[in-house]
Amino acid sequence: MVPDREDIKKFDILIRPYLDCLLSQPNDHINLTSDPLRITDCFGGCLYSSTKDQPKCDRFTLKIPYAQQILSWQVIFDTSNLKEPPDFIFDAEDHDFHPSLADINSLVCWDWQNRESLAAVVAELLEHYRDYQLDRASSNSTLQRHLRSLLAHSPPDLQIIVNRAERGLGTLNCLMKVAVDFSNIPTYLVSENPGQHCAILHVCIPYPESSNIQAQLYLTSSVENAFGGSTKLRIPAFHSGMMMGDYFANVKALLENQVKLISEGFEKRKDYIAAFINHFGKSVLEYDMQSFTKITLLWEWNDFFFTFTVMGRFGPIHFM
């Protein structure tokens, strides 16, 4: 049994598995970035005079990193009735976010014995929250056009928040996963975290009519290394007049192209070195059999011995 994390030890023992699952297991449907979920402001709803030393917290605030902002949702269990699903209170800003209980399958079918139940509810609520934000954004025609173009490309795992402003709508933050197949990147470039390749695009529209739309791309460190480091990243600027969907498609195509270049470059280098070994394998001194960027041979001509080194990149391996 893995010992409980410090932050959940104060909770009732029956609630801890839900929290452990929510906080410890990465869940793509809840969290797109590596920023962790946090729990704060925990307290117990019941007063026990005889068991005051026992941890009995059953409610807390859940801080969810979402679209580069943080949602604060209060989660309220009831220690006297732990077979019931928790209640939720959302941010004050989202006072009109009232998803119908009947629509939340994981609440309707709450299984108190399944430790993944809370995570499932949070994930499903976030889907409703996304739809709620999409609706809010659609009240502005410019934002509606952007979002419609984006949704036409079916981005997987989309997070969106449109903040309210004094009059109407303010900043829009959008975070989406860019589905790119990274499996063709040679293993030596991504050996540290073989399963964790991911590209996340963040788009920020400061206010609906703004022509200064900002975009930033986040890659997992293994992919970033494969592309030559963070300084090599050059995503196109978001030109005014461009729709978010088109921009998303451009970034996706760019990433796919780079993966193709890297893997083709690797194959070409491999073939090139193999050709040298084929012809001159009996005079090989050393060659790089991981990235195939170098081979050194020893040759003799007229009693004169000399080393011959072929090195460099015969195909682009840097993201330029």
Binding site: K268, D271, Y272, A275, N278, H279, G281, K282, S283, V284, L285, E286, Y287, D288, M289, K294, T296, L298, W299, E300, W301, D303, F305, T307, T309, F314
Partner: protein, 229 residues
């Protein structure tokens, strides 16, 4: 080692020890250039084997140790291979074999490059236990560069060379014997080869032709022509 002199093509004279040092310097410099991750250690045999430089990838440190070390050529005691390999065993960590060693490359290999310069004193090997233990790893190699005076009836060069050849238990070693300046350095160059990537010593071919080498039709080759000058 000091009794023999070696003359370069330019006419410069070197003692055996000076030449051995030169060969080592060239080896270290070339190897470091080929791959900066290579590490070198330096062991000297007097009465017993002593590590005078522990493993480092800083070529400058090795070269400095070489220059500053007072290696005195001795003609007294025979080189005792048992002590020699025991000292090596104490100072070396061989990587564990993981997977199929014919396919999975190790994180590193360990190679002993023995430079021997005596023409009269035959090495002895009373007990081969340490050597066999080291050789039980597929990632341990022993190479020899034997620098000697021209073989004659007055010296034991041939007998010594035979002892070195007997060190090669699995056919993977490179054993060289030379008595002239340039061939000694050329042998040093051949020793640059990585033991896991080089051919067996007798299979190695370094000579290149000045004629056009036709590309093999059955293999895909990236450049269209390979003209070697």
């Amino acid at each position: 080692m000091n009794s023999t002199t070696f003359r370069s093509r330019a006419g410069d004279k070197y003692s055996g020890l000076e030449l051995a040092k030169r060969a080592i310097k060239m080896f270290v410099a070339h190897k470091s250039q080929m791959n900066p991750s290579h590490q070198f250690a330096f062991l000297v045999f007097k009465e017993e084997a002593t590590m005078i430089q522990s493993f480092t990838s800083r070529a400058q440190d090795i070269l400095k140790t070489l220059d500053e070390s007072e290696i005195e050529p001795q003609e007294s005691d025979s080189l005792n291979f048992s002590h020699f390999f025991e000292t090596i065993k104490e100072n070396v960590d061989l990587p564990e074999v993981q997977g199929d060693p014919r396919v999975m490359p190790p994180p590193y290999i360990v190679r002993v490059l023995l430079l021997f310069g005596r023409s009269q004193s035959v090495p002895i090997s009373p007990c081969q236990k340490a050597q066999r233990e080291l050789e039980s790893s597929p990632y341990f190699f022993t190479d020899v560069l034997y620098i000697h005076e021209p073989p004659s009836e007055e010296n034991k060069c041939e007998e010594i060379f035979k002892v070195f050849c007997d060190l090669d238990h699995n056919g993977m070693s490179y054993i060289f014997e030379q008595s002239k300046y340039t061939p000694i350095l050329n042998s040093g160059a051949k020793l640059l080869a990585h033991p896991l990537q080089r051919p067996r010593q007798l299979d190695a071919v370094y000579k290149i032709s000045t004629t056009f080498i036709p590309t093999a039709q059955s293999q895909p080759v990236a450049p269209a022509e390979e003209r070697v000058y």
